[in-house]
Subunit: 122 residues, 2 copies
Amino acid sequence: MPAEKVNLAEKLAKVAETWSPKLVGTLDDYEIKVVKIHGDFVWHSHADEDELFLVLEGSFRMDFHDGSVELSAGEFLVVPKGVEHKPHAAAACSVLLLERAGVVNTGDAAPSARTVTDLERI
Amino acid sequence: MPAEKVNLAEKLAKVAETWSPKLVGTLDDYEIKVVKIHGDFVWHSHADEDELFLVLEGSFRMDFHDGSVELSAGEFLVVPKGVEHKPHAAAACSVLLLERAGVVNTGDAAPSARTVTDLERI
């Protein structure tokens, strides 16, 4: 068989930590990831890559310097390349991410405990 | 505000016809589409592009020449470039598609009533 399906709930059940994206698939040179988020992330941007956030469970807020977007399950947002943003989740939230391979979660921000450079495949 | 969210249920509510993908967003040079499917599509492949199918509502079966994959809501499949495939939905099913801009739904198959070359943005 040339391809296997991915069940997103099954993948999410394997994710314990927050703010640690896990690879669940690839498309051309793009990566499909799932991540659990809760609380505040860091302000950052990705100079050359747009970034897709699709909410799978719960809700979160994407802060921009000129406003915020509230997102709930079944809604997505594409953050344009070069635009500073900061996710914030008041309660636990599960998100599907899709972006070009090699994008680091904290973008241009100084590396921190939140920075994930070794992407685990689950 | 640099980006607007997309509510997938609201977009799907605007789609009446089946097998007619509608553009709902872009990511770099990729297109995010929604499509309603019911019944049988045509065998085809896309020589240079992988194709993501994420089921939003219902279920469908992706046929390959050496087997099939059954997909339900919350599951996705990436059909690798160059691999012949044929979606089949026994009942109405809603799917999110993501693939490089310019990919035509019927791929290398002879153009037919199912072929959509003018992608409508909704």
